[in-house]
């Protein structure tokens, strides 16, 4: 009989064009049958495909062992099918608190894949753990007078000095009523973004923040400079007043 079905003519599908494969992955597949899709693109874009569904990862997460998955696929494996909390690729232990999400340029608010087939309600993927902002390289040059004062007061390490000074000001304000104006000055620091001085917490406003880190740090540096000057002046005045009183 003449004519072959869609699967049998293997030589004609030996190596498909890569552009066709990429086009199918980028958007909604135009070709409905499998014979039109070229699989040559898998060699180029395989690095960002989920290890479970073999498709471009949706809501990608990376385990500590370095394997990439869609968050819905990994959640379904860990909570529905797996006998233990292990990586689907290398059987390493997977802790949900240590999963690292990957944020690309596209918005992840849309949910293109509804998990109604498995009947499992999939929560949002774990948030990234943002480390503290890198210390400024010229931190010591701007405040040469700060070193003896900080060392005498038993200050925390210099790496934590930038964000620690805010809480330090608040603590001083609580101890000495004369320094209460420092506490009022603290909310001004948050004008540069939510939780600017705190080491934990993720804010979407800081997406691509490191690219513009230097220009934005300059105003904060001046603010810290003003704080430190006022604080030093207040302490000096207090010490002089103590000397005069006795």
């Amino acid at each position: 009989m003449s004519g072959g079905n869609a699967w049998s003519p293997l030589p004609s599908h030996g190596f498909g064009s890569e552009s066709s494969g990429m086009a199918n992955r980028a958007g909604e597949p135009v070709a409905r049958t499998n014979s039109d899709g070229g699989g040559g693109g898998s060699k180029d874009s395989g690095s960002f495909e989920c290890n479970i569904c073999l498709d471009l990862a949706q809501d990608p997460v990376v385990t500590l062992c370095g394997h990439l998955f869609c968050w819905p696929c990994l959640y379904e494996w860990l909570h529905v099918h797996a006998h233990s909390q292990e990586c689907p690729v290398c059987k390493a232990v997977v802790e949900e608190g240590k999963l690292v999400p990957l944020y690309g340029r596209g918005g992840s608010s849309a949910v293109p894949r509804a998990r109604s087939v498995a009947g499992v309600e999939i929560p949002s993927r774990p948030t990234g753990q943002r480390p503290s902002t890198a210390p400024q390289p010229d931190h010591n040059n701007h405040y040469p007078h700060q070193n003896p004062w900080f060392n005498g007061a038993g200050a925390p390490p210099v790496a934590n000095g930038r964000w620690g000074s805010y809480t330090f000001s608040a603590a001083i304000g609580g101890l000495f009523p004369l320094l209460s104006f420092q506490v009022h000055g603290f909310p001004q620091a948050t004008a540069y973004g939510p939780a600017a001085g705190f080491p934990y917490g993720y804010g979407h406003s800081f997406h691509g923040w490191h690219g513009h880190g230097f220009p934005r740090q300059a105003p904060q540096g001046q603010q810290v400079d003003a704080y430190l000057k006022v604080l030093l002046l207040a302490v000096g005045v207090l010490v002089i007043a103590s000397l005069i009183a006795f």
């Binding site: 699967w7 190596f15 569904c53 087939v117």
Partner: protein, 309 residues
């Protein structure tokens, strides 16, 4: 002349299977060939070549794969159709990659990795596993020669047509049969022990699920090393090396509850606050030292102090 079939692409299992079909067609392997049926994408036909340097070399062995509806979260089942002397025909075989051991299955494995593992399992000692046979090497050799002549007869005419096409493709890729029998010491390799599953196997429908047994099966090596190997010889050596050491699964550590994770994050702030408290305490001590110093200076003036009191 065949009509284009519209698959339910919203099903994640169908999407995964279509990706595998596309990948297999773009990167064909010289050691096996596998295609799904046109009317049911969860039913596959495959053919593997016998591994090199074994009594199965040159043989073409056909089989059938049934993928579950939960694929790739559940393992498939495998059934050999060509007599080989190693696996029974038309009976589901018991391996660590089949549905007899869903606890050993990894969702990152695929049909390709399963076929590579199946080729590597052929020279191993069956050890009485369910669905396995232990023929003599001479008989296996005769069956390997016989397997090239005609493909097996199985299933519907459309499935038989697919089997015939796969057989022609494999014949063009198969090397000639070697004349002498190789000396392969396969007694040291032990596959899964699946005797206790004899009474629990469900031979029924497409999505048959076996009981999760407590027997310690032999785990298949990592899928990445399997998927990377396209040649049967390297894959067989790779898999055989993985089988020699006794790989035991590590114990499952319970997942840390979210309250403990929040507590772990919260402990960071008191740590820094403690440092700042120490700094403030140091400043207070400095001021008190100044005050005491001043007090001692006043104490030097005895008359002033006595007059004050």
């Amino acid at each position: 002349m065949a009509a284009t079939i519209q698959y339910n692409r919203s099903n994640p299992a169908v999407k995964r299977i279509l990706q595998e079909v596309k990948e297999m067609q773009s990167n064909p392997s010289p050691d096996f060939m596998s295609l799904p049926l046109e009317e049911d994408i969860f039913e596959w036909q495959f053919a593997i070549l016998g591994p090199r340097d074994s009594e199965f070399e040159g043989g073409i062995y056909h089989g059938r794969i049934q993928l579950p509806s939960d694929y790739p979260f559940k393992p498939p089942s495998f059934m050999l159709l060509t007599p080989s002397g190693r696996f029974e025909i038309q009976k589901k075989i018991c391996l660590s990659i089949s549905n007899y051991h869903p606890e050993h299955w990894q969702p990152s494995w695929s049909v390709r990795t399963a076929l590579v593992a199946l080729i590597a399992f052929m020279p191993t000692n069956p050890g009485g596993a369910l669905g396995s046979l232990d023929y003599k090497p001479e008989d296996r050799r005769a069956l390997a020669i016989k397997s090239r002549e005609v493909p097996p007869k199985f299933g519907s005419p459309q499935r038989q047509k697919l089997i015939d096409e796969i057989h022609e493709q494999m014949l063009s890729k198969a090397p000639p049969i070697p004349q002498t029998l190789p000396n392969v010491p396969n007694e040291e390799l032990a596959p899964d022990s699946c005797d206790e599953h004899a009474d629990k196997v469900d031979e029924g429908g497409n999505t048959s699920k076996s009981m999760s047994g407590s027997s310690s099966g032999h785990p298949v090596p990592e899928a990445e090393s399997l998927a990377a190997e396209n040649t049967g010889e390297a894959s067989a050596v790779e898999v055989a090396n993985h089988q020699v050491p006794e790989a035991s699964r590590r114990e499952s550590i319970p997942r840390v509850p979210s309250s403990l994770q929040n507590a772990a994050i919260a402990t960071q702030k008191p740590k820094h606050d403690r440092l700042l408290t120490l700094a403030a305490l140091g400043l207070t001590l400095a001021i008190m030292a100044l005050v005491i110093k001043k007090f001692l200076k006043i104490n030097g003036l005895g008359g002033f102090i006595e007059g004050k009191f």
